[in-house]
């Protein structure tokens, strides 16, 4: 039984009214106004600070002393800048393609075919959703590293010296970043494929097309808007990405914009102007991409809501190829999940890092685990992290509910709301961290130095995700469901509270958990904003990393991952249920 409302969300999007007409006599505008103001207060100041820093000089104590273009001049005159820009683009593009191919193929196999062992694919996704990026990266560095099993094995086999694969290269960066993103791609494209109208594919089959023909000529083209939107999204995130370029790229002297920013912030005194100038460049690049993203993702959603009567998930029968598909899934499972985890386990059991070897077996020890458990403080840090992430996620989903609803319904100020909410996508993590710190130091509220500032930074950073979840969620609801409420005499708020919100629950919960998870994955912001009052897990991880406590980091990371995985499971169950409810599958 499918929700009557889900049929023909298309019509809903088709109805558009002139914004002027709306502002008069539309009772949603107070909400719209309040929300836009709130969003503006959150989103605009950091951007302002960033721009200001990039064009001003400051004295020792950081007060603005004058305008200058020096930072930019220094940038453009520096030949390395061009290289960095180029590397950034190559890196982002490469990893995007890789993640799309891996994640997309997997999503299709799992959602639209009768491939076996689907569970493994989900498992890989769920767990890596809960694993901090840096753990992945470290594990991969080790696996592909000079003494990693790959190269060691190759040397052992061929007896040759040297390495089969140099990890500290662009190739290595792309490989690792790509694999890092593939689970997310799997998740999002999975939803698209699930929502796709099976009739389209069956029509192709009835026309005599083989599974492959159908995939190539029908399924992919139809999913293309969604795929492109997702591609752009990953691309943008890869541009801002820090862990991989820093850990993998820099040793190989492959520099990208984000690492340049990083280097500018670690010199003493930190050259914020220069960093800001870099950031502004990234912001510009990303902003341009974002423009296309917003347009694409609209199409994507339009395709999404094509479900309706007789929608039933009807997987392809791959026939003999089933087992090939199964093999692919298994390989992915090993590559994306098993190997890294085993590596981490290995690292966590060694007193000091060394390659896989029987020789090492005697010194296996639980010391690292003991260290983690004994070292006090980890518990409080964990609690802090969870509280912040939960708080941020909640705030985001609340704001996004208002903003997303009005935006998706072309309500008053809909466009503005949409843009405001998506704005922070342009910030690379580090830049955002700096900007937020400077902003809230100037705010006469006890925010700086408390957990609040980190929470706020998260809210700013992850607002776009919440927005997406709500936005597409609303588009799945037939507009008449709301109009029925209004005609029944319900005001805008009542309608929102009693009809829209309940119907969006799946989307809201899914979004909440998603944000909660990724908020706990990233370092840059927390490390910068953490102060005595507000230590979080990220800081501990950062400590362990910079201090080379690989073992302790691995041990702790594994425990943390275990916890996150539990939560991720809930998230996943939600996603499925959400999909089921919304698509009436």
């Amino acid at each position: 039984m499918s929700i009557p409302g889900t049929v023909g969300g298309v019509r809903g999007t088709a109805r558009r009214r002139s914004p002027l007409a709306l502002l008069r006599g539309d009772q949603r505008w107070p909400i719209a106004l309040a929300t836009s103001v709130l969003l503006a207060l959150l989103m605009l100041p950091p951007l302002w600070i960033l721009v200001q820093d990039s064009v001003t000089t400051t004295d020792a104590i950081g007060n603005v002393t004058g305008l200058t273009l020096a930072h930019f001049r220094k940038l453009v005159t520096d030949k390395d800048t061009l290289i960095s820009v180029w590397n950034t683009l190559v890196f982002a593009a490469g990893s995007t393609v890789l993640s799309l191919v891996v994640g997309g193929l997997l999503a299709w196999l799992v959602e639209r075919t009768n491939a076996p062992l689907k569970l493994l694919a989900y498992l890989a996704t769920i767990i890596s959703m809960g694993t901090p990026y840096i753990l992945h990266v470290i594990a991969w560095l080790f696996l592909l590293g000079k003494v990693g099993p790959l190269n060691e094995g190759w040397r052992a086999l061929t007896g040759a010296g040297g390495n089969l694969f140099e990890v500290n290269t662009m190739a290595g960066m792309i490989l690792i970043e790509g694999l890092l993103w593939s689970p997310l791609v799997f998740l999002l494209l999975g939803a698209t494929f699930r929502a796709a109208n099976a009739d389209m594919e069956e029509a192709a089959r009835m026309s005599g097309a083989t599974v492959f023909d159908t995939l190539r000529r029908i399924s992919l083209p139809l999913a293309m808007p969604a795929i492109l939107a997702l591609a752009l999204f990953v691309f943008i995130r890869a541009i801002g990405g820090f862990e991989v370029p820093a850990l993998v790229g820099m040793p190989g002297r492959v520099f990208v914009l984000s690492t340049d920013v990083y280097e500018a912030t670690i010199v003493v005194p930190p050259d914020l102007g220069y960093a800001a100038a870099f950031s502004v460049i990234m912001v510009v690049i990303v902003a341009v991409l974002l423009y296309f993203y917003s347009r694409l993702s609209k199409n994507a959603e339009r395709y999404h809501s094509v479900t309706g009567k007789g929608y039933r998930p009807r997987p392809f029968d791959l026939g003999g190829w089933r087992w090939v598909a199964g093999a692919i899934i298994v390989v992915n499972f090993c590559v994306v999940l098993l190997l890294p985890l085993v590596t981490l386990l290995w690292m966590s059991l060694l007193p000091f890092l060394r390659g896989f070897s029987l020789a090492a077996l005697p010194n296996l020890t639980l010391r690292n685990y003991r260290a983690v458990l004994q070292a006090g403080g980890y518990l409080d840090l964990a609690l802090n992290s969870l509280t912040i992430a939960a708080g941020a996620a909640t705030a985001i989903m609340l704001i996004a509910l208002l903003a997303g609803w009005i935006a998706a319904r072309r309500g008053p100020a809909g466009r503005i709301l949409d843009q405001l909410a998506t704005l922070s996508l342009v910030f690379p993590g580090i830049c955002l961290g700096v900007a937020v710190m400077e902003v809230y130091l100037r705010v006469p509220l006890p925010i700086y130095g408390s957990l609040w500032i980190i929470a706020i930074a998260y809210v700013i950073r992850y607002m776009p995700y919440g927005m997406r979840y709500v936005y597409s969620g609303v588009l799945q609801l037939h507009h008449e469901l709301e109009e029925a409420a209004s005609v029944s005499g319900a005001g805008a708020l009542t309608t929102l509270r009693r009809v829209v919100a309940p119907l969006l629950t799946p989307a809201l919960v899914a979004g909440w958990l998603f944000i909660f998870l990724i908020a706990n994955k990233e370092l840059a912001i927390a490390v910068l904003l953490a102060s005595p009052g507000s230590q979080v897990i990220a800081v501990a991880i950062f400590d362990a990393w910079t201090n080379g406590q690989g073992g302790e980091l691995a041990a702790f990371g594994l425990m943390w991952t275990a916890l996150m995985t539990v939560i991720a499971c809930v998230f996943f169950a939600q996603m499925r249920r959400g999909a089921a409810d919304v698509y009436g599958a």
Binding site: M1, A484, G489, A490
Partner: protein
């Protein structure tokens, strides 16, 4: 009771060149009228309804229920939708899947601003609404566990529970089974008469419109082309469009033979040469170009040579196709260059190829206006 005048709402349509919406709608309904907006898809029926409900803001015109002005473009009055006290049933029913049937129906009472309803009072009113639509006892069902017909009734109950003065229905039957549609049609009509509520009904199904309405407005491309009672609409279509949209009438084109005074019977010659008698309510002049409509079932059909009542004006043709409609048989007859639809008795089907003779009773042939554009 409901007065709409000069209602205009124009959409500059992004998707295809032609602009949609409605233009210059005006009508005035006495209380208790069952009023139907009838027209092809995209002609502006829903738009009209949404303007009255307040879901769209008209560009111009006035809407008033009784002496309460709901909208007046000129004076800038626009009562927000949730204050108009109108009941509406949507094409998709828009039953809220997260509530029980009871909750769905009680909703308008819960959110009512004007007065609080006590728990018992509410229960009573909902139960009453449920009984009216013949669903008493279904209150606790989750709304997702209802058949199409039941959903439709719940939507109706929800629209009626807070006793609106005006009821709006947008193609409420269009996504039901043929069989179910039949029943619901009768039931709806019965209900409306029983409650005596003024109702505006949107449909593109002419038989529905004819069967249920007191008054029908036939719409074409955003304008009302004929506003009349069912019989008039059916037997005295004002324009070719109405004639052909309602019950697939045959259109005969020809020239008037002699001047006829208003109300008199005259004759006109088809291009094929045959002479057809016809009553001219408005009279006609010799040589005037005539376009007239004839209903398939008003034409008498018989095998060539068989006796047929001695009225002048007959055409000779051959059956091209015959399709069995149960109650009767639909023939496509080729008579000269004219192709005619004729309905005959279900008994004794004339097979394709049979030569037949068609007879036109004068009162069945109705002159219609040819479209200006």
């Amino acid at each position: 009771m409901l007065r709409v005048s000069g209602l205009t709402k124009i959409y500059a349509n992004r998707y295809d060149s032609q602009t949609g919406g409605v233009r210059e709608m005006s009508f005035d309904l006495p209380p208790g009228t069952f009023f139907t907006l009838l027209g092809p898809s995209g002609c502006g029926k829903t738009t009209t309804l949404r303007c009255i409900a307040g879901l769209e803001r008209p560009d111009a015109g006035t809407i008033a229920v009784g002496d309460r002005v709901l909208f007046d473009g000129a004076r800038g009055i626009a009562v927000p939708m949730h204050r108009r006290g109108i009941g509406m049933v949507f094409q998709s029913y828009a039953i809220w899947p997260h509530m029980t049937v009871f909750e769905n129906i009680a909703f308008p009472l819960r959110v009512a601003k004007d007065r609080r309803h006590s728990r018992q009072e509410m229960a009573a009113m909902v139960e009453e609404a449920l009984t009216t639509v013949g669903l008493s006892g279904y209150g606790e069902r989750p709304a997702t566990r209802l058949s199409g017909g039941q959903q439709q009734r719940v939507a109706l109950a929800r629209a009626l529970v807070h006793r609106p003065q005006l009821l709006l229905l947008d193609e409420p039957l269009s996504n039901l089974d043929a069989a179910l549609r039949e029943d619901m049609r009768a039931e709806l009509r019965r209900l409306q008469q029983q409650i005596g509520i003024t109702t505006i009904y949107v449909t593109h199904d002419q038989s529905e419109a004819l069967a249920m309405s007191d008054l029908i407005a036939v719409m074409d491309r955003g304008r009302v082309v004929q506003l009349d009672d069912p019989q008039a609409i059916y037997f005295r279509p004002a324009t070719e469009f109405v004639a052909s949209f309602i019950g697939a009438a045959n259109l005969l084109a020809g020239t008037c033979l002699a001047t006829v005074e208003p109300g008199g019977v005259g004759e006109f010659r088809l291009s094929g040469g045959a002479i057809i008698p016809c009553r001219f309510p408005a009279g006609s002049t010799a040589g005037a170009a005539i376009s007239a409509s004839v209903r398939p079932e008003s034409i008498e059909i018989g095998p060539e040579g068989a006796m047929s009542t001695a009225i002048p004006g007959t055409l000779h043709g051959t059956v091209r196709a015959a399709s069995f409609l149960g109650g009767n048989i639909r023939y496509d007859v080729q008579a000269g260059d004219q192709e005619l639809r004729v309905t005959g008795a279900a008994t004794g089907m004339l097979l394709p190829g049979t030569p037949v003779r068609l007879t036109f009773p004068p009162d069945a042939v109705v002159p219609v206006a040819t479209p200006r554009d």
